[in-house]
Symmetry: C2
Subunit: 214 residues, 2 copies
DNA sequence: CTAGTCATATTCCGAATTGAAGTAAGACCG
DNA sequence: CGGTCTTACTTCAATTCGGAATATGACTAG
């Protein structure tokens, strides 16, 4: 426990207005078990990132230190009986309480932020060849399909475990989200074709896509 | 490492691996006309942000300075005939070329990053009351409807102008994206209701006793 | 068994980015 | 005439990120 006299004054108020990253890390800890920063990162990579990005590993460690300072997390070094030296973190009662408070807070959930590299390029479409744009959308569709598979894999992990009912729900949302993303991509392809129809003049038909039968 | 002679404009190599923000700002400049940093910010807020976030104003000015250093942008102070002193930026040939190169670069478009605060809270659903969760989804739906209206407003601005055909395309994508987001929210509401059915009484029915048939 | 590489575990640092505040001057409004 | 709003831009501290660096145990081929 951090019962030291760090003159941190009573943080009894409300959530000390931590950045979302801190809450996400604390959230990771709020599920049963103790974990190292490294494990946290892997878990974030395979689940959280689908709907809420995965913080940098260095950031995770930094947040863990802060969380411990605040008394929201506690850590223990592994003893000498364990082969590898590591520090395992767990959430404290205060941490759980603060997290609940934050989760219930209404004002904090700003609008979702989307940073879509493909769309940035589409937006700059006047600088590229139409064929190149279509190819990029195609790549995006494939990437999305791969992501979808990864989401489904994560869903399998979570399936059936009662404690993970809500994470499973988030993953289900993410599955649908990826499905929607695929449709969005297809529609974009159509729009793109309309905007700059295939030029028969130059014989420059690079994409090599098969026309949809139907 | 990199060559030590830091002369300003000899960066003929490739794209000097600028952060996406720099390319986004340069992209803003790639449309006809000269603009001030302030105007750029307003434009980003009303268009770019729907699919690729809007940088902080201080960041925009910083990027403009860097872009000018690199010879990708040129600026001119307004003369004394203009009421207000301001600096207008425009893209240079080198800038346009570099931007095209970047836009065509295949490796650079990483997967889209989504930071969805609502989903983070759903994921932590075990910490909140079911009714609270449903309320949050409801708020999200309303916010999304408002955003959708903003997207449509932006679309009206862009409509009909030939130079803005691609931005218009991106906005159309964004419109559909928001429509999909609404459906995702509705589905989430349904899932939530299934997971923890409405309680008539006042009791907190936690996870575990799921009367789900099948 | 032994070097080589892989996975785990963590720290460090420079650069990117934010957000808030400060400055200033023209514009609009009563 | 004064007030407040919008435009225009700068500065700065604090946050956050990503990549490199550092170890060490664990597995794998020869």
């Amino acid at each position: 426990m951090t019962s030291s006299h760090t003159s941190k004054k009573q943080e009894k108020k409300q959530d000390p207005d931590l950045p979302p990253t801190a809450w996400a890390v604390l959230g990771l800890l709020s599920f049963p078990g103790e974990r190292t920063g490294y494990e946290l990162k892997k878990w974030a990579d395979s689940s959280l990132r689908f709907f809420y990005w995965s913080p940098a590993i260095s950031q995770i460690y930094a947040e863990l230190r802060r969380l411990e300072e605040l008394g929201y997390a506690a850590s223990a070094r592994s003893g000498p009986q364990e082969a590898r030296a590591k520090r395992r973190y767990s959430i404290t009662g205060a941490g759980r309480e603060a997290l609940s408070g934050w989760a219930a807070g209404t004002a904090e959930a700003g609008p979702p932020v989307l940073k879509h590299g493909l769309l940035l390029r589409i937006w700059l479409g006047h600088l590229a060849e139409p064929a190149r744009l279509r190819a990029m959308v195609g790549e995006h569709l494939e990437r999305t399909r791969a992501e979808l598979a990864a989401v489904r894999e994560a869903m399998e992990q979570a399936a059936g475990v009662a404690e993970w009912a809500f994470p499973a729900l988030a993953l289900r949302w993410s599955e649908r989200q990826h499905l929607a993303e695929l449709e969005l991509g297809e529609a974009l392809l159509t729009d793109l074709a309309e905007l700059s129809p295939q030029e028969g003049g130059g014989g420059r038909q690079a994409v090599g896509d098969s026309p949809t039968p139907g």
